[in-house]
């Protein structure tokens, strides 16, 4: 799983996709997940990291992460 190479990510949570011209905003957890993906973490590593940091159970977290991944791919932000 990879974020497309040419996607620009700003510190305050804005994402720009130069190939489509679309820009996006994220909340802080959304931004965190994208950063972790960019660092090359796997989904399982991301889950581990976030479980440690946040008050959330594994099932809920997995569910929302999956949702979020779907959003990323439906907005063409992930490498096929």
């Amino acid at each position: 799983m990879l974020i497309k190479g040419n996607i620009a990510l700003s510190d305050n949570g804005f994402v720009f996709n130069p190939s489509s011209g679309d820009s996006f905003t994220m909340n802080h957890t959304g931004k965190e997940v994208i950063m972790l993906i960019k660092e090359g973490k796997t989904i399982n590593e991301i889950i581990e990291l976030m479980l440690e940091k946040y008050d959330v159970d594994k099932m809920t977290l997995e569910r929302y992460l999956l949702d979020f991944m779907n959003d990323l791919s439906s907005n063409s932000l992930l490498e096929e």
Binding site: D22, S23, T25, N27, H28, E52, Y54, V56, T60, L72
Partner: protein, 448 residues
């Protein structure tokens, strides 16, 4: 180290230059408190969902409307519209503020009596009063607002046969330049029906014509409609004075003032478009004062305002049950408040606030209730922050009609609490149980 609060990760596409249909910059403020009381505490103690009323807000609204009208007119009398909210504690707050009772059924009539309202301070409206109810109201000296000729004849017969008198008014409907015309209630002004009824009453020794009544509709945004209605009633009052040398003691303008809720699909928020009490008051009182009625004969002005006095004071606090993606990609959030508890979701785009802080980021969301029914939609589309299962929210301005038109449907109805003026919380209607609901049922022996 304690862990941080988790917020569902979201990503939202920006469409520069083109504000969405929800307008630019939707800001949804968190609402941790209702009238100074923590929503989390309310839910922990009384469950989710829970109806919450603020006595301060009720009293403030009464103060505002009384000030707006009595600054402009000497004799003003409020009458609480029972159908808008007849929880006994709510009615009693209005009665303590000086309101009479406005009722539209025998059930509501008896409720008002139980709440300590004197018979002579009850206005009895509605098209369906029974003979027994009419007799009781006449004996108690209540004001009977006659809706149609059959009722006029029935009341006349009762008074003759029992040898009693009745204090009456007629409900008048008229063309006030707005649509829809409410001509199904009362007697028509333009076609002479109202004048005909007045003549019959004036010629009947058992019936005492005390006033004229109209109720031009509900959520009426046009103050001009009230101006026209008030001047037509004032004209009728003048004709009565001229022909019979009789001065009616009141003009009752009914209810219908808009609350600050936003109608479903309206482009502008009710907060910006709803006329103030001052504007309604100016239209109504100037129409009466500027009429041909002599200054020393000006009648009492009665108002049966419902919605505009109680909508603001009621909220529902609830919890998120689930989230899902709809096939078109929209987010859907399922909550534990359904249209069975929030009937007004059919009319209003109710505001919904998360209880806790959120990142400020919102996305288009549909909010569904928990009923297994297609109609159970609280908001078809709104910009809403991402809440996860268990997160709490407050739906505001739910005080009018929801605790009378609610349905015992699929599930039981939850607790209702009142926050008093000292911020003390009182349970004013306990949650229903299966036993409550089953109590009126009988099972024939062969099914036992």
């Amino acid at each position: 180290m304690s862990k941080q609060l988790f917020e569902r990760p979201t990503i939202t596409k920006l469409t520069p230059g083109v504000p969405s249909k929800h307008g630019a910059g939707t800001v949804i403020a968190p609402m941790p408190l209702i009238d100074g009381v923590k929503v989390d505490d309310l839910i922990e103690q009384y469950g989710s969902p829970v109806y919450v009323f603020s006595e301060r807000t009720i009293r403030k609204a009464m103060e505002d409307i009384k000030r707006a009208f009595s600054l402009r007119y000497q004799k003003v009398q409020m009458a609480w519209s029972y159908k808008t909210n007849y929880l006994d504690s709510i009615c009693r707050i209005f009665h303590k503020e000086g309101s009479w009772a406005e009722v539209v059924s025998g059930f509501e009539y008896d409720k008002a009596i139980r709440n300590g309202v004197k018979g002579e301070n009850i206005l009895f409206n509605g098209p369906a009063k029974s003979a027994l109810e009419l007799e009781k109201a006449a004996r108690n000296g209540s004001f009977i607002h006659i809706d149609h000729f059959d009722e006029l004849f029935m009341l006349s017969d009762i008074c003759m046969s029992k040898n009693i008198e009745a204090r009456v008014a007629i409900r008048v409907n008229m063309d006030i330049g707005i649509y829809p015309k409410w001509d199904r209630f009362g007697l028509n002004y333009e076609n002479g029906e109202a004048w005909d009824a007045i003549n019959r009453i004036m010629n009947n020794p058992k019936l005492k014509l005390m006033g004229l009544h109209t109720h031009i509709g509900t959520y009426i945004m046009s103050v001009d409609a009230y101006r026209i209605a008030a001047s037509k009633l004032a004209e009728l009052a003048c004709s009565i004075a001229q022909k019979f040398d009789h001065y009616i003691s009141y003009i009752d303008m009914g209810g219908g003032f808009a609350s600050k809720n936003t109608l479903r699909g309206a482009y502008l928020s009710g907060e910006d478009t709803t006329p103030s009490f001052e504007e309604y008051a100016e239209a109504i009182t100037s129409a009466i004062i500027n009429s041909q009625i002599k200054p020393d004969k000006l009648p009492t002005l009665i108002l049966e305002t419902g919605r505009a006095l109680i909508d603001n004071a009621g909220s529902i606090a609830g919890s998120v049950l689930a989230n899902k993606r709809l096939s078109d990609g929209r987010r859907a959030t399922i909550v534990d408040v359904g249209v069975n508890l929030l009937f007004t979701a059919f009319w209003y785009d109710h505001k919904i606030h998360p209880v806790s802080n959120h990142s400020g980021l919102v996305e288009e969301t549909t909010i569904y209730g928990p009923l297994c029914m297609n109609i159970d939609v609280l908001r078809p589309s709104l910009m809403f922050p991402s809440l996860k299962r268990g997160d709490r929210f407050v739906i505001t301005r739910t005080g009018a009609y929801n605790n009378t038109q609610w349905l015992q449907f699929i599930t039981t109805r939850p607790n209702v609490v009142l926050i008093d003026q000292n911020r003390k919380v009182h349970l004013i209607r306990r949650a229903e149980t299966l036993e409550d609901v089953a109590a009126n049922e009988f099972i024939p022996e062969y099914l036992g």
